[in-house]
């Protein structure tokens, strides 16, 4: 049995009808009941069916995580709720655009490190880069950490998207 007081981090995928207000419903549920949102992403995934997939990363005790799933599941436009942290080992990815400005040694160092992280340069001026980096959230955290002393000025992150490993759909 899991420790009831331990705080866990879960990635939950929610398949919803892409109707007006559905995102407000999901967000309102979290704020109204005092649950945490660490990251939330949403986009239509099936145009013909008008379904969107919301990926939400949340933290809480096992009882709270169960509550969050049950509460999501009872929203009327929700097709399905899957806890990717429990059901399978899921793959998680996030993309970030990271702007670093500076010159000389620091600029060279930033470029060298970006290579190690397989970050791409998607914009450049004489004294700045915009890197695009994709990976698990902690990889992005690490990259941002390394850029900080090298002239980090701006960060934009997509939030986590996740999918289960193996052949099955959610």
């Amino acid at each position: 049995m899991s420790d009831e007081s331990k705080i866990e981090r879960h990635t939950i995928a929610v398949l919803v009808d892409n109707e007006a207000g559905v995102l407000a419903r999901v967000i309102g549920l979290f704020s109204g009941r005092g649950y945490n949102i660490e990251s939330l992403t949403v986009a239509e995934v099936d145009q013909a069916e008008h379904t969107s997939r919301i990926t939400v990363v949340t933290v809480g005790t096992p009882m709270v995580i169960e509550q969050i799933k049950a509460q999501l599941d009872r929203l009327v436009p929700v097709h399905k709720v899957v806890d990717l942290t429990v059901e399978t080992k899921a793959v998680e990815r996030e993309m970030a655009l990271i702007k670093v400005s500076g010159s000389g040694e620091k600029r060279v160092e930033a470029l060298r490190l970006s290579d190690a992280f397989r970050a791409r340069v998607i914009d450049t001026t004489h004294n700045s880069f915009v890197f695009e980096v994709t990976g698990a959230p902690d990889k992005i955290d690490a990259f941002i950490g390394l850029m900080r002393p090298l002239g980090l000025v701006d960060v934009s992150r997509t939030g986590v998207v996740a999918i289960a490993r193996g052949p099955e759909a959610m």
């Binding site: 207000g21 309102g28 109204g32 009882m63 049950a70 509460q71 009872r74 009327v76 436009p77 097709h79």
Partner: protein, 585 residues
Amino acid sequence: MAAQELTGAEIVIKALVDQGVDTIFGYPGGAVLPIYDALFQQNKIRHILVRHEQGAVHAAEGYARSTGKPGVVLVTSGPGATNAVTGLTDALMDSIPLVCLTGQVATHLIGNDAFQECDTVGITRPCTKHNWLVNSAKELTRVMHEAFYVATNGRPGPVVIDIPKDVQFQKAEYVGPQNVVHKTYRPKVKGDVEAIKAAVDLIATAKKPIFYTGGGIINSGPLASQLLREFVKLTGFPITSTLMGLGAFPASDKQWLGMLGMHGTYEANNAMHDCDVMINIGARFDDRVTGRIDAFAPNSKKIHIDIDASSINKIIHVDVGIIGDAAHVLEDMIRIWKAKAVKIDKAALADWWKEIDGWRGRRSLDYKKSDEIIKPQYAVQRLHELTKDRDTYITTEVGQHQMWAAQHFHFEKPNHWMTSGGLGTMGYGLPAAVGVQIAHPDALVIDIAGEASVQMTMQEISTAVQFMLPIKIFILNNEYMGMVRQWQELLHGGRYSHSYSESLPDFVKLAEAYGAVGIRATKPGELDEKIRQMIDVKAPVIFDCVVDKFENCYPMIPSGAAHNEMILGDDAEGATVTEAGKMLV
């Protein structure tokens, strides 16, 4: 030939008729005029004009709760919609099926801060089960039918359909309800058989069992009450219920322990505390019921049957959770119980009943009688005594009188008790009585009221007069917001900050001013005769029952205490509340 096209307003009316609606409660305004015009030109649906939109929603709740059918409300945009919000929240908390139609400004004006525009779907999102803004008449039929489906299936609740004025004029094809299937919403009604078997096995081992039932039984319908009665008889176990569940099991039965919770009986709460197997059917471990969570029935295994999966393990961890409708699950449970030929531990059960009888002997609902002054409990007892042989429906406001009604008016049947449990809305009872009387024209409908609460929606007496609804507003007038005064006495050193009902109207004259009948009783000796007089009047009555101003409602589990730490009426002197308890509501 193409099907005939109807205007949005006509679609609304046709869909209501096809959904079996014969009565709606509403209030007109600019943004719903086309629907009102369509109403004018038909005679299948009766419209009850209220005096405030909150009243419309509570009336629809009373209608719904007393019939098992969804209640329907029609209000205008802006202030019409915002006035409905309290009622919608009330219905959400108590799982009452309602369909509320709101007018909205025309689609091209939405977002412009137009006259009487408000973000109705935004405002009502957290206080409805679901809501829709209808963008075109083409969507309207589907939304109308889906709304009834969502409101009444699974855990029932209120829904809002926001209809812009231009959509009410637009023409579109009408589709019947049989052709509308909801895309996503499929609540589970049958319980998992393995879980039900596990529950039966657990129940079979019980030495100190208890049934703890709630509003879910009422919502499930009369069959659930019938099956509950059968199962309780089969087992011989004691049964208690929440405020919302009263009437599901007959109060005159010897297995009935009375209501549990903050103002529940000593025997119900002690039995809950000491039980070893708890069978929760359709109740939600509300804080009024559990008291201190970490001291809640500490030595028990718990079974929880609920149609709403999110109710299970929300507050109290249970050993067996069964998601399903109460009637379906009870039916399976009884079948499995019989098939397994379960043998219960009769000796243990006899000992358990002996223990319970000890608690019963404490007579926790007793109070000091008086010949001089009407005790509120006595008034409720007399009211019960003099009306129990009739088809009587009780609604209440919120406060001490509500608890005294729950304690001293004994319910034998489901759907005869309408009260605001979850939200605790003062002003619920009078309009709810209007709705009940509309549904049951020949019944005796009584709102057991407080003088403070009743003033919140008093204007609905005018509705009762207009529609000749002989509702009885029985005010336990203690000249105080009694429940507030009681808490101030208990928690705040008797500093009665703003809880005195100052400048009260003369309720008898007020009744007369409205064209109703006013009756006042001030002495215990005249009470019976006056109550009889009230019953005999075939018109709305306001009964001003002048009662003891300082009576408190006992027994009571003070906030932050456990079930076995009740304050009883005869030793309430000097009772206090812990510091942690003061933080709680």
